[in-house]
């Protein structure tokens, strides 16, 4: 496996969907190649940082505004 091929397979590998043989050659390549070891770890960091960009829950003021919106929508039409 080349560095280029490894880059193509990182996503599938991390999703746990890489077949055993391809997985073995990926791990062997990474063991030999510092660049690809760095790619694997920084790919993971990039994913972990993305998760941190989520809002963990709907903010309080948004929830309140949302409730008011439903109330307005439910009010009988005048």
């Amino acid at each position: 496996m080349t560095c280029r091929e490894l880059a193509d397979r990182v996503g599938v590998y991390r999703a746990g969907e890489l077949p055993v043989a391809a997985r073995a050659s990926l791990l062997f390549h990474a063991w030999m190649c510092p660049c690809c070891r760095a790619l694997l770890s920084t790919y993971d960091v990039t994913l972990a940082l993305s998760v941190e960009l989520a809002e963990q829950q709907v903010p309080e003021e948004v929830a309140r505004e949302f409730d008011r919106m439903i109330e307005r929508a439910m009010a009988p039409a005048s």
């Binding site: 880059a7 993305s50 989520a54 709907v58 929508a73």
Partner: protein
């Protein structure tokens, strides 16, 4: 009260709710709003990254759903259908917002020589266990995402920020799962690359 993330994305819904919506039952609408609030807000927020805009999208989505519930073909696909509506509203708002034009994504082959070897030496990233450094890196990433073409940014937001399953994204975005995976991976490699360049330049 927010539901745990694992429960926020349940798309299945009992048939009676949809039937009640079709018969213009207002209580059913309230129920729909509460049941899908967190999930739809998550979709809207991750794509637009603005609270007020996400709230507006949430409102537009639910209003559209109420008005056009007859268009829902498969009652069990309510969650995916709502997600599609939310994504459409998010797209319209992103387009009307003045954004910098997207940058072209790199040709990945250009990162490698003819033998498939990586051309550039890797550099160490700051230790990601330092909370402050991590927050800074996350902020950098948020800025880099603005450079992405719209569709790439969308898939990244739904998958890597909102953590929707590939099946859900496929249903919402109208793409095959394999296509979602390929495009998403391409985007992740690009973001990683831009982030690496930024981090190198920052030292």
């Amino acid at each position: 009260m927010a539901l745990p993330r694992s429960e926020r994305y349940a798309t299945g819904v009992s048939l009676p709710l949809v039937q009640r919506l079709r018969s213009r039952d207002r209580a059913a609408f309230t129920e729909l709003c509460h049941a899908h609030r967190d999930r739809l807000y998550g979709i809207a927020w991750s794509v637009t990254r603005e609270r007020q805009e996400a709230l507006d999208i949430l409102q537009d989505t639910l209003t559209s759903a109420w008005r056009s519930i007859e268009q829902l073909q498969d009652d069990t696909a309510l969650g995916a259908w709502l997600g599609q509506i939310a994504l459409n509203h998010a797209r319209m708002r992103l387009r009307s917002r003045r954004r910098k034009p997207a940058e072209a994504m790199d040709d990945i082959d250009a990162w490698y020589d003819d033998g498939g070897h990586r051309l550039e030496r890797h550099t160490r990233w700051p230790r990601a266990d330092d909370a402050l450094e991590r927050a800074r890196m996350a902020q950098r990433l948020a800025t880099l995402v603005e450079r992405l073409p719209e569709d790439a940014r969308e898939l990244w937001a739904l998958a890597d920020v909102e953590q929707l399953s590939m099946q859900e994204i496929s249903a919402i975005a109208g793409l095959h799962v394999a296509n979602v995976k390929t495009r998403l991976h391409r985007t992740r490699l690009q973001l990683r690359e831009w982030l690496a360049i930024e981090l190198k330049g920052a030292r």
